[in-house]
Symmetry: C2
Subunit: 308 residues, 2 copies
């Protein structure tokens, strides 16, 4: 029996929290001791789902090596998105649906990544393969992760597998998929109680593109009016982050989850690379991203290409 | 439908060849076009297995991007072990059982690694999960890979999963596992047609230990008599390689696959570190390695410890 800490990326979102909880439960079924923890404060959307399904909010950690020697990563693999002392623990498992970047181990490990909408969908398949039942509350949080990552199957990252698995999880969780899905998405898109800092940086991630530091945030909203009324404040936070983190670019993708459409805000020395990447025009640091809902599929690749 | 080239590492061994063939077949079942190819001449052990099960020897390639835009890697992930123009193609699949090192992608991909004895064992599980039948000849070559990588389940890298999967593959391949296993291992252990260079360097790998270059080769034989009759020639090749590659040490592990026992030959300025690592005495550059069969698990770790 090994004792594991299981965690997703910093700035935890619903998939990171749900997958940590689901995989910790999975490891317990495999005879290990495992605890789902979070690399940052859990707020907003995932809290709504945790409350809905009666699950506790995972404890926050700063470092892992002071508690365990073995860890499992979910929903990420890039060291800068992970726990600060990752190099001082042994990574035995990675379950993820992102590109692989900067990830190295000294030992063979269990690594399972698939190019599908959600880490929780991969975990569903692993529960099947290993013959473990999924309890109702864990099915509920896994379903929430799929709804969150696929925007209720509207994101181009969605696969037929995510849809089929979502339907099965809704059955186990005993909720109506579309009714709960809209209720859940609306809870995450309510920015009235969020600070400018939370909107800008709540889900932001750093990417190294052609040796440059690029930070890309994404916020879900319903209707652009409310968020654009706060544009000046948002740009100020972005400029401050850029100086603080020595960024080439900070891009915020503002996504209307009901219309499946986005607007971008950008801060940087030279924004022509954004015009090139998205074949668009920038006015007052703002640009259209029609039909864009996925940072991973529709923002990172064209920006990477334009920068290289 | 995507067209794939599927390949394992340079200096192809049985697992690399078998897994390329099996995964190319798997991709065809998934509706893709796929061809198993080799990054180097296929000789010895894998050729025996291919002939036994009536499979053609995979074509050799030097580069991939001149033929396809998409590739699948099996049995390796480190770029220096892969095709030279790996950075010019998109890697959609990796199926492997090694550590992850230096591997990066721009896109999400299907990556499945497990810490078990053989890549072919992981592929067997994928055929099960996806509901694809394994044809008799492909089961035979996959079985050969498991026998090769685990030395018929005697290597400490062997897991219970490799054993159970080996038994199932032997059934599909319609061979007696132990009878065929011995016949196959003997074929790979026939050094009568190998040059001294092939014996010494055919499967040699470089390791950096405490900032020193150490090269460790391994050759499988049956009975030490024949190989030790060629000791002088082998040591000459080792000394030449040492000078050419600026090596601190060149160690050749000669493994009797039937007795699960090894003898080492060593070339270097100061061989006391070997006496320390393996708690042994060196006579005429030769030493005993009782019970040792795995370079990865039984040679590299003690030598690394002794050198640090």
């Amino acid at each position: 029996m090994t004792k594991y800490l299981v965690f997703g990326h910093k700035k935890p979102d619903t998939d990171t929290i749900a997958s940590a909880i689901a995989f910790a439960y999975f490891l317990e079924q495999e005879g290990h001791e495992a605890e789902a923890v979070a690399l940052g404060e859990v707020s907003g959307e995932p809290v709504f789902a945790l409350e809905k399904f009666g699950l506790p909010v995972p404890r926050m950690i700063e470092t892992a090596a002071n508690e365990v020697t073995h860890v499992a990563l979910v929903d990420h693999n890039e060291p800068q998105q992970s726990v600060d002392d990752l190099d001082q623990v042994q990574i035995d498992y990675v379950i993820d649906h992102h590109r692989i970047s900067g990830f190295n181990t000294a030992q063979p490990l269990y690594y399972r990544a698939e190019p599908i909408g959600c880490t929780a969908s991969i975990l569903y398949k692993m529960f099947q393969e290993f013959g473990h039942q999924i309890p109702q509350n864990i099915a509920g949080i896994m379903l929430s992760a799929i709804i969150s990552d696929t925007l209720l199957f509207k994101s181009p990252t969605t696969t037929e597998q995510d849809k089929a698995i979502g339907l099965k999880l809704a059955e186990i969780a005993q909720v109506d998929l579309y009714e709960y899905g809209l209720e859940f998405l609306k809870s995450g898109a309510d920015i009235s109680k969020q600070t400018d800092e939370e909107i800008v940086d709540g889900d932001a991630k750093n990417f190294i593109m052609n040796e440059k530091n690029i930070r890309i945030g994404q916020t879900n909203i319903i209707g652009f009016e409310e968020v654009l009324a706060r544009k000046e404040g948002l740009l100020e936070v972005m400029a401050a982050k850029r100086a603080e983190m020595d960024l080439e670019l900070f891009v915020l993708v503002i996504t209307d989850v009901l219309e499946s459409n986005s607007i971008g805000l950008a801060v940087g020395e030279d924004l022509r690379v954004i015009e090139e990447a998205f074949n668009t025009e920038i006015k007052d640091q703002q640009f259209e991203l029609p039909g864009v809902v996925s940072r991973k599929k529709q923002v990172v690749p064209p920006l990477t290409a334009a920068l290289s």
